[in-house]
């Protein structure tokens, strides 16, 4: 108890010192005297409240924690049991997808727009999760593949008039090819070295796009990239030659929000496809090999698994998802320039993967939502926004280093009759 008291006293003292400086308590010299200056009497009150709270919290912390453990059980963020049952889980997934499909018809235009952006990050997060979370390869240049996907569509459209639907699979293939070519020389590196080289690749792609002015338009970017169409029906007020606008075809008045809703639904379908494909991959031999490789590549080799080939497959498949996301991004924005593909994008996507819990799909989806919504919600904090963001990241790493929802084992279960 004595040590507890000492600890609590120390914490309270520390709170007092920190709180005083944060709340603007200053020492000023007035003539020969030094006085303590505060803004108002309320400052002392708040400071006192803070000190008392910290003191008692630290004093009774073991008991508070024991109580909390008893009320909430061991882990706090684990899946509710209702999701464990197969049929119930299916129903739950169907309900969630239904709600997500209904969402654009109920929400405001700006909310739909934000949701579309979130879904792009979901796709990117899930794709990078294959590389980082499952295969354990730290890739800091993921945005490079995103850029390749975006520019594949933009350039194919610009020079050869490809539509979004024609370019989408090509964007995936071209990006996968880039992943393969870039991965080939670097995948014998590991850990930090791999991170540095991939960081370099991301930058090389951006700088190449910036300086190859004849092809990519350089820093001016590429504009007038057409939006996706619905079986050749366009969502603009007036369609290009030979095409019919959506509203004329159905004989309804023109409304610009149709386009926003259509983009959202497309992003949702692409994300769902990504979730499904990666869900399957994780349960296939290749997914098992990725995880095994992350844990012990020497053991993998001793069992006849080729580490280079398996890493390369993770890199290539992960990259292709960035390609799809990039092509969609280009179509949504209508304008892309190298500025959209800076390192900070890679960092955000990586943060989504780490925050979500490496390897866990649901975790990554939740983290992607948090990472895109948080800056919007915290808009009123203005310049303190990034500070708040950083604080949340630090707290996450302290309290929940394994991420929001870490990967749940087992993927494969032995069922005995």
């Amino acid at each position: 108890m004595a040590s507890q008291l000492l600890h609590a006293g120390f914490s309270a003292g520390l709170t007092f010192l920190l709180g005083a400086s944060v709340l603007g308590v200053e020492l000023r010299s007035q003539g020969v005297n030094t006085i303590v200056a505060v803004e108002g009497p309320m400052t002392w009150l708040w400071l006192g409240v803070a000190v008392v709270i910290v003191f008692f919290h630290q004093l009774f912390r073991p008991r508070i924690e024991a109580l909390r453990r008893r009320t909430w059980g061991g882990s706090r963020f684990s899946l509710p049991p209702l999701l464990r049952n197969h049929a119930q889980r299916r129903l739950m997934i169907a309900l969630v997808i239904g709600a997500l499909l209904l969402f654009p018809f109920l929400a405001e235009r700006s909310a739909i727009d934000l949701a579309t952006l979130t879904l792009i990050y979901v796709m990117l997060g899930l794709g990078l999760n294959v590389v980082v979370g499952l295969a354990g390869l730290l890739d800091l240049g993921y945005v490079g593949f995103y850029a390749v996907g975006a520019y594949t569509y933009a350039l194919l459209n610009n020079y050869f008039g490809f539509s979004f639907w024609e370019a989408l699979p090509l964007a995936g293939i071209v990006t996968a090819l880039f992943g393969y070519l870039l991965g080939f020389p670097v995948l014998r590196l590991r850990g930090d070295y791999l991170a540095i080289v991939t960081l370099g690749f991301g930058e090389i792609i951006r700088i190449l796009l910036n300086n190859w002015t004849e092809l990519t338009g350089g820093p001016n970017g590429i504009s007038r990239i057409p939006k996706p169409t619905l079986f050749n029906l366009e969502f603009s007020r007036r369609a290009d030659e030979g095409n019919i606008p959506f509203h004329e075809f159905f004989g309804i008045p023109y409304d610009p929000s149709y386009k926003v809703m259509y983009l959202y639904i497309l992003a949702l379908l692409l994300s769902l496809a990504t979730v499904y494909v990666i869900y399957r991959l994780m349960r296939m031999p290749i997914g098992r090999a990725w995880e095994a490789l992350r844990e012990d590549d020497i053991a993998c080799r001793s069992l006849g698994l080729n580490p280079t080939g398996i890493k390369l497959s993770a890199f290539t498949i992960g990259a292709s998802f960035a390609g799809f996301a990039g092509a969609f991004f280009a179509a949504r924005q209508g304008f892309i320039s190298p500025e959209s593909f800076t390192f900070i994008e890679s960092a955000i996507v990586l943060a989504i993967v780490v925050l979500g819990g490496m390897g866990s799909q649901l975790g990554v989806i939740l983290a992607a939502i948090a990472m895109t919504l948080l800056p919007e919600i915290a808009r009123e904090f203005n310049e303190y926004r990034m500070l708040l963001f950083g604080l949340i990241m630090v707290m996450m790493m302290v309290w929940r280093p394994q991420g929001l929802l870490p990967l749940k084992r087992p993927q494969m279960e032995l069922k005995r009759g």
Partner: protein, 256 residues
């Protein structure tokens, strides 16, 4: 070369900088034999293992497996040829479950076509079923079936050792190379291991190359023994011959 020779190592040397860790070691392993490689600590036994299994590239010498040269191949290709090893300190995929460890090991037997897997074709499901059944069969044999869905890292040490052997066996190897499988086991577990190796030999016709310090185990199950000391071959023969060899006794007990 005789028909029955499975593995033949000739004049194997491995140099690390100025240190000649393995010097002109030769050995033969015939089909269905249990052959042990023994020697005092630091004699170069594990280095020989690493050279044979492709984790090191030997400085000189030949490794022939089923008559084919192996010494230039990477480790995973040697494993695919049918030579599978365990490690001195167990190397399981600790965060994966027991059954998953055995599924990963069967990577080469599984259906790896991505499209078939994504579409869950009939052929894919059948192959996955086979892989799962073989894994379950081996778990049963090493007595770990009740732990199938546990994390491998949470098993007791002796169980981890058994799982590592099962993980080798699901790859359907010709030669099983065990690097100190009894290290850290208690006498009961060592006896179980002894029986297991004998059973594998009798029932599966597996050939075993063994590094081991536990002399009672070595003398009990080995058909032949090779002794190395300070990287050099010292003696070889049946357990009785080795036990009576004055050179070997000197190497183990020191000079009078």
């Amino acid at each position: 070369m005789a028909e029955s020779e499975l593995l033949s190592v000739r004049g194997l040397s491995m140099r690390f900088g100025g240190l000649l860790a393995v010097d002109q070691v030769s050995m033969e392993v015939r089909l269905g034999e249990v052959v042990s490689l023994i020697g005092p600590n630091g004699a170069g036994k594990t280095t020989v293992f690493n050279c044979i299994s492709g984790f090191y590239r030997p400085t000189s010498g030949e490794v022939l497996f089923k008559g084919r040269p192996m010494q230039r191949l990477p480790g995973f290709k040697i494993a695919r040829a049918g030579m599978v090893r365990t490690f001195q300190n167990v190397r399981l995929f600790k965060e994966m479950t027991v059954i998953e460890n055995l599924l990963v090991a069967q990577h080469m037997q599984a259906e790896r076509n991505l499209l078939k897997g994504l579409l869950l074709t009939k052929g894919y499901r059948r192959r996955e079923q086979e892989v799962m059944e073989r894994a379950a069969h081996w778990l049963e044999r090493v007595g770990l079936i009740d732990f199938a869905n546990r994390e491998a890292g949470n098993l007791a040490y002796g169980q981890q050792r058994r799982l590592e052997i099962a993980r080798c066996m699901v790859t359907q190897p010709r030669l099983l190379m065990l690097d100190e499988p009894a290290a850290g086991l208690n006498p009961n577990e060592t006896r179980d291991l002894n029986q297991m190796i004998v059973r594998l030999k009798q029932e599966e016709g597996i050939t075993v190359l063994l590094i081991e310090h536990d002399m009672s185990l070595v003398m009990d199950i080995s058909d032949r023994i090779y002794v190395v000391n300070q990287g050099k071959p010292l003696a070889d023969g049946t357990p009785e011959q080795i036990q009576r060899n004055p050179e070997v006794i000197k190497a183990y007990l020191g000079e009078e």
